[in-house]
Point group: D2
Chain length 265, copies 4
Amino acid sequence: MILRGNFTSEALSMSTNIQIFIPERNRAPFRVVYLLHGLHGDQGTWLDNTMLPVYAKDYNIVFVMPEAGRSFYLNLKYGRKYFDYISEELPKVCRKLFNISAERENTAVIGCSMGGFGSLKIALSKPEQFGFCGAISPACIYFKYMLEDLRKDSESYLKTGGDAEEILNDLQSIYGDKLEYRKDYDIVALVKTFPAASPKPKFFVTCGTEDDLRKENLDFKDEMKKTEFNYTYEEWQGEHDWYFFNDALKRTLDFWCGTGVKSFC
Amino acid sequence: MILRGNFTSEALSMSTNIQIFIPERNRAPFRVVYLLHGLHGDQGTWLDNTMLPVYAKDYNIVFVMPEAGRSFYLNLKYGRKYFDYISEELPKVCRKLFNISAERENTAVIGCSMGGFGSLKIALSKPEQFGFCGAISPACIYFKYMLEDLRKDSESYLKTGGDAEEILNDLQSIYGDKLEYRKDYDIVALVKTFPAASPKPKFFVTCGTEDDLRKENLDFKDEMKKTEFNYTYEEWQGEHDWYFFNDALKRTLDFWCGTGVKSFC
Amino acid sequence: MILRGNFTSEALSMSTNIQIFIPERNRAPFRVVYLLHGLHGDQGTWLDNTMLPVYAKDYNIVFVMPEAGRSFYLNLKYGRKYFDYISEELPKVCRKLFNISAERENTAVIGCSMGGFGSLKIALSKPEQFGFCGAISPACIYFKYMLEDLRKDSESYLKTGGDAEEILNDLQSIYGDKLEYRKDYDIVALVKTFPAASPKPKFFVTCGTEDDLRKENLDFKDEMKKTEFNYTYEEWQGEHDWYFFNDALKRTLDFWCGTGVKSFC
Amino acid sequence: MILRGNFTSEALSMSTNIQIFIPERNRAPFRVVYLLHGLHGDQGTWLDNTMLPVYAKDYNIVFVMPEAGRSFYLNLKYGRKYFDYISEELPKVCRKLFNISAERENTAVIGCSMGGFGSLKIALSKPEQFGFCGAISPACIYFKYMLEDLRKDSESYLKTGGDAEEILNDLQSIYGDKLEYRKDYDIVALVKTFPAASPKPKFFVTCGTEDDLRKENLDFKDEMKKTEFNYTYEEWQGEHDWYFFNDALKRTLDFWCGTGVKSFC
């Protein structure tokens, strides 16, 4: 069952759109994936641009696809509290309305690009809720250095053209006019300060070999390999586009659930 | 939460559209209303044409709005099995996916026009599942006589113009080329042969005083008053249109749940 | 035809949701109403909560319903450019894709609450495009004084509870941290500095007699009566809710198109 | 712009669902593809299961996706007139509402499985409207022999299980209880009796080498090669599933518009 709709979020204090895929023939309670879109996307991006329903019918997984504007899935200084919404309120609402499992082993967060960043942030911040994180071509893992550069010289950045003006505006909405660094919004810092007592989420990170973000994903891989996290990185020929994201979604689901045991997933 | 979508029905052996309203702030498990459209409508008719979300937010009710084409919510001889779908498969699927009550006291079927017929047919056929029936301007309560007339002389009927050709075609799809009477598709017969051992659904029937269907609804009222069914009939100034259906929906919900105790409904 | 969807806005630099009503039986090119939601709403609010399709089928009007978050239909300092999107890009896109009139006499902007503010702002800023403005229970007409008060003492405002924290955040997103006044975001100032050479939009403003915003709407009426604008104000028993907005929508359409000549509207 | 909605069809005499993709950045008036679903599908099938928006953004094409139940895009004896709806009313409505070309060179019909049959039937019956037909894994090209077999012995067919009972019911809805052959519903007969004076649609037919329908598509290819139709057949490794349909859609669009000149398509 594919469902498209909206509801009033308390955390956002406004109406927000949502899309949900439920494999109605399968066994409930279902596993659940919170599936996050990228910078220019919305709640419909994953269903519109990939073959999700074709892949998904083999798994006992409910896919919940929220929208988060250009928020990076963070609580905005100027704007709405997307982190609270997606990491706390949304799972609570979904568990209340739908027949989905509340176990962390059965709860994943997956996203591409800005949504890849979001999935890392959410899994590292709420490990007791999310047992699995699938980051597809994740962006802004090294936010810290980006902010440092911009604080020193935003003019040069603006001259790079493209979306630069909008992205600077996004960062000011998140971090304030002065782009003050926040440790709790920094993926690498969250890894380093991860509480020893917390259950560790399992990570599966993918990136195309032609993706501009490859370098920072390889750096992050090196960083993660030094830790005790269960972390897997896979890359193959591909760019930062829906051809890659579509394939990566399927591989991520197979990695989480196993290709051979789909019906028991 | 308003959800619009579709899924593959086994009873219909095809994909079918559905809309769902869930009052996400309220207490689960929710009561449920299966809300049925009229002859020219579809799954969206009730949400599009009425103020349903405004009324609904006060009740602990999930509204499930299926589509049934022009089937009168019956199993078609030539076509799909809409009665099986809506009276059996749909409630089963909804109970599996959503957090709704399975108690008959918490399960209602409400509809307008052709959907009013459908709600009567379903409540009388599946009383162990549906505790309440709200029939708004229900049509074709006296199907038997309509079929008799048409078997004798369909030509005169076709000459009445309007939708006549399409309605004759609908009836042939349901009853076959010879329009053979079926007791189990006859509301009045279902009332008369209602099993003594079955729990009785509660009925609330409404009709506008300017509605062409008023006469047969008054006749049906007389018939019901002779039985032991808990049956209430209300009429007020109005026609067979969405102004009336909108008001009638609100009154029907108030009748089922009580105006004074909405929050506990 | 009711259409729900999304597209990538260049002005917003992201995907945005939209709903459209087209009276497919009527004569094209159609008149067009840009219909704006309130603070907690979205692109679906008008269709979900009112009987719009019932009223609309009598007019030759396409209704375009965009979403604008909590932006007050302004270009946000921190966030997206909603004013540019809705007053410029959206009409351009709609004229390109749909068979709608480009004449200002055939183009209206109507909204409720925050959307009422938006409709006033848009009609006063783009009079060569919008010939009619229907402001239903418009909010924040006296933004200037609100900002002055908040600059002096935001603490007291925050203590009023409810949505206060979110609204202060909205205003900072619009006006910046220091809530600097902007003349071009002030309805009253726009009225006073309206260019003599510009064609004047026609205004129809409505408000419930029990609405908390009544006082400022009456003040605004007095102000408008001193000008040469074609301005009509109507009020009747009602609150700041969808019962009133639903009735006001119908009255506004009748005022614009005339009750007696619907088919030629 | 992706739009999902519904409207009341006069030909169907009921509400019907529709989905539309418009490449809003491109040049209008747009080319148009009527894109038809298969036996178990609906208006959403193509968008849900393929990467259509990813492929489509490169072409100046509006995609119109109607629903047709299990009608084979024919006028049902018992049921609705889907052929009239999709071949006549729908293009008329779309040309009225949207900014699409009315030239046959710019108008295509494409479909998979039952929709492949539909696309052949429509292109052969309305060649003055449809200049291109893309039939993907088309079904029931040899309907005539299927009906003959069923008239002789439907019992054996029913024993084959699966969907057999439903398909026999579909055929009775189309052809009547006695499954009387109709020349105008027979693809091969339409080819043979194609009027010499009519403009010929161009055909691009695809089928997977593992598809059960391959044999009849190869037979049809032989038949078409004897005619003067501009007919191209391509096959590659694949089954009767969405992996194949997704690839075939892209190849069909490239064939119609040319891979090298997308932006001028």
